[in-house]
Symmetry: C2
Subunit: 570 residues, 2 copies
């Protein structure tokens, strides 16, 4: 018997399908076609011009063409919308679809430019996709909970307000996992999102809808959020660039969230894109809008050209990077090791220094964070689910055709222990512990000044975002590399490096395993299975180093591109 | 029978007395001499030159003379130390006394300047007093708890580390109330601090030792902390300037604290001084030292000359102030009303605009804050007291000669209700409520743009810090005006305006009382009793407006001084 919540979810999913213009429904390839990135070009829904628009990854270029009216916002928005709908049919990456509203907005912007000769703002005419947390007036905000179906927002979230002032065109919202606290993307309302590089694989999460959409080039710029890796995991799994800013640099006010009111380790929002230019443009545009006048929690700090020019990092002339080859908790898969070696060579070839970064109290920090996230004993999730009667999802594994697992439960369960509801005083003790860990980690980092030879501590750390490339649905357990940055509040980017190549990335002989999860992850590796999946890395800066992290990511990205060109690699 | 904790407290107090050089013990005036500010000049401990040094309130002037070696750090430190010891004998304002250590440090600085011709830093040679939270390596940090006697710090707090790098001379630590959560200053170890303007009165708290010391001119610059008014209450009661910066602009790391790990409403540190120049110099020096490299929680934001020049406030040419004549919870005493009227006239005379500020959800905000502070049901205090067996102090009223009270219990008790230990999830709900209140208050403030005529919202709010001037010991209950700023994280200063004048400040006829505490406070007023006590006000800016708030306080201070000169007032 279908229960009420199941019926409501099915109806909502049907309504979503009906919100797609009939002429945009394509003939989908068979389910066993795993890589679907060629479909937009082949499905004949998009014109050659629309393919040209949507294949433009440099957001600067798109904005330039919009500003000069070479491309209208209407045609750009239409092109990306069509491709987003193609992506939806292949990877199930969307939640809210509102074609008319977005196209009307794009026309309005075209009219303003035509009439006044002026753009509305720095993002004039640009369609932007948003994770299913950023409330838009008049639309539902469901965020993967059956009970939230029918919750229409009576005002825009501050981010949406600012995007509108900047001239952007919010045009779709994207899928998330129930509770947001998974590194994959599945919920009872909108279902499961798959990875366009290989649909057997997860795009990661919780900003996994964005990951899949952007990997399909169904959006030039997306906005996700990150409390333990939710921007970085999908970016790494989908070959994208992202920035996890530090707490409260960008305006979260008015967005819905899980664990609302949990302020010990704050979720942050950030851009995801196919180019670092998208990351920079978004971050600068939002900060330039003085978001502290609308969101009381946002840091009153202007975009700093001084910091972007790396004045605290010797002007960027000779940087010293520390590579975290291994965090001592989970050893990265061979393609990740190759990506780090490649990045090291590329940086050295570009005249920078590279030293090893030895992890510092990594597991302690992770345990503290995970204990904080579970301080309510899971009550917040239970309460939201009980409102509709839907069960709290216990696994991201599909019921059918699940990849074989070799792990009973992830390490985090034994670290945090049996869930129970902690008291305010217990939470305060966790805060004390966290402060001490932050101080210890910062001092450790500062002390590297003795071995860089630049007169400065290590400028940034390069590390995996996740120990592996995109994994089969239900298999993503590792957030050890990402959570470090949330706990320490280090500003962190992700950039794509390469793709798994079964010819280059043979399995390594087993090492002495750190724990049972490390062993399970080791055993998961299969160079054939992962072949062709993107491999990305993190660049970790210090707290509130948004400008410097973007600038250093540009340097790394350029070094990698030059290096690959010289070596004839992809 | 004397219990163990009482014996330990008495021994520690005796040790404190013995740490005073015998030749600095003065002949004290009788206890019934209430105002003791004339004693330093009359007691013959300080030479004329030492009186000249210590009567210099402009910290800029002192630093200039130190930099040019016109005054040595040794003579300046000696002069202030003597005066601090006089203050101690009259008001009991000190905790740690370490004459030798401080004088040795001052000599070291003199030697460096002599040898190298260079100052160590921007605070070269300046003695600075510190609230009893700022750990100094090798000294005890007792913070008003019997159990903490004998706790020697094995490292400097980050603030002390930075002060040393800036060339300052930390020279005394100052008294606090047990738990820090009182607006007065009394504990079982060091006893009660009194107000040098009138020893029948409290200097306020919790930075009350600083308040009394600075009012005695026993220090050129002091550092206190503030979580609900603890910098501002003593500054208002003692005729001082202070700045409550926003959370995490200045480095708190390594200082001891009450409710440690409570991060919902963070305690902040700030300067207290007899001049606004002291406030600016301290704040700029600490920020210029890049404290984020030592304290991971400090905001990476340089001192902004742009913000100090009031570029977001029309260059400061015509500011619009909002006066909060009354917060709707407790009506200010007549001298406070006169001080606000005076400030209004002075600002208008200086060409600025002044409009009324109607309070917005004031009591709701207060209730949210106080509920957060009590989220552990008082466990933190109990635990610290149980370590020694000392009781948790229930009243700041002296056991003997207490001023007659007309109030059974303050309003806060009924607002917060019976104390109990809240859960993490309950705390998160309080955070949600607080975020909504902050958004609401910010939007309300921004909306004043419609009535200022400047094209900007109100630039700053002027309000009482406390509804009354310094009150008799045990009578200070009002933190309604101050806590608003902690909850909203508004950067706030206090500046002195005038003194109670029994000839000008007649009692007003009773108004319709807002609540029983408002009534009790109304009845407490007696123009004779309060005669001669300082009257200060708050200047409230927005979050992280440290530079702008200092600049606007300078403008108000100058306007008041000009106004008083023209009118021949004091």
């Amino acid at each position: 018997m279908t229960s009420d919540w199941q019926r409501r979810c099915a109806e909502r999913k049907q309504a979503q399908l009906e919100s797609i213009p009939a002429e945009w429904i394509i003939q989908c390839p068979p389910d066993n076609q795993l890589n679907v990135q060629d479909v937009p070009a082949k499905c004949s829904l998009l014109s050659a011009h629309e393919l040209e628009i949507t294949d433009t990854v440099d957001v600067d270029v798109i904005l330039q063409k919009l500003r000069t009216a070479e491309w209208s916002s209407f045609e750009v928005t239409t092109a990306f919308y069509k491709r987003a709908i193609v992506a939806q049919q292949l990877t199930n990456c969307l939640t809210e679809i509102f074609v008319e509203k977005a196209l009307a907005r794009s026309k309005e912007l075209d009219d303003i430019l035509k009439t006044t000769g002026k753009v509305v703002g720095p993002l004039h005419g640009l369609p932007i996709s948003l994770k299913d947390q950023f409330a838009i007036k008049g639309l539902e905000t469901i965020m993967g909970y059956a009970a939230w179906i029918g919750r229409y927002a009576d005002s825009d979230s501050v981010l949406v307000e600012i995007l509108n002032e900047c001239g952007a065109v919010p045009f779709v919202r994207t899928n998330v996992p129930q509770t947001l606290m998974w590194g994959e993307t599945y919920n009872h309302v909108f279902g499961r999102t798959t990875n366009p590089f290989n649909r057997y694989m997860t795009p990661g999460g919780s900003s996994g809808g964005e990951g899949a959409l952007l990997a399909m080039r169904g959006s030039p710029l997306g906005v996700g959020t990150d409390i333990g890796g939710s921007l970085r995991i999908p970016s790494a799994f989908c070959g994208l660039y992202t920035l996890r800013p530090s707490y409260e640099r960008l305006p979260y006010c008015g967005a819905v969230n899980a664990l609302e009111g949990q302020e010990s380790i704050s979720s942050v929002l950030g851009p995801m894109a196919n180019s670092i230019s998208g990351v920079k443009i978004f971050t600068k545009a939002i900060i330039d809008s003085q978001p502290w006048n609308k969101d009381p929690l946002v840091t009153r700090k202007e975009w700093s050209e001084k910091e972007y020019k790396l004045e605290y990092h010797g002007g960027g002339k000779q940087l010293c990077f520390g590579i975290m080859w291994d965090n001592g908790v989970v050893k990265p898969h061979p393609p990740l090791q190759r990506a780090m070696a490649m990045t090291k060579s590329a940086l050295e070839a570009a005249g920078h220094k590279v030293v090893d970064w030895e992890p510092h109290r990594h597991l302690e920090i992770y345990k503290n964070s995970e204990t904080i996230f579970a301080a309510d004993g899971g009550d917040d999730y239970r309460i939201q689910c009980e409102l509709s009667g839907e069960p709290v999802i216990q696994t991201m594994s599909p019921q059918e055709d699940a990849h074989e697992s070799v792990m009973d439960e992830p390490l985090v369960k034994s670290l945090v222990g049996k869930p129970y509801h902690r008291s305010a005083l217990e939470l305060w003790q966790l805060h004390k512990e966290k402060r001490d860990l932050r101080k210890s980690h910062l001092d450790y980092w500062q002390a590297t000044v003795s071995r860089t030879g630049t007169g400065r501590p290590i400028d940034a750390i390069i590390s995996p975002a996740v120990a592996y490339p995109a994994v089969p649905h239900g298999m993503n357990t590792d957030s050890f590399y990402t959570t470090l940055c949330n706990a320490m509040d280090y500003t962190t980017s992700v950039f794509p490096v390469t793709f798994v190549d079964s010819k280059l990335d043979d399995p390594h002989p087993p090492h002495e395993f750190y724990n049972h999860e490390d062993e399970a992850i080791y055993k998961l590796y299969d160079s054939k299975l992962f072949d062709g999946c993107p491999v990305g890395l993190q660049l970790i800066g210090k707290t509130q180093e948004e400008e410097a992290v973007i600038a250093m990511t540009e340097i790394v990205d350029k070094a990698l591109k030059n290096f690959k060109m010289v070596k004839g690699m992809s």
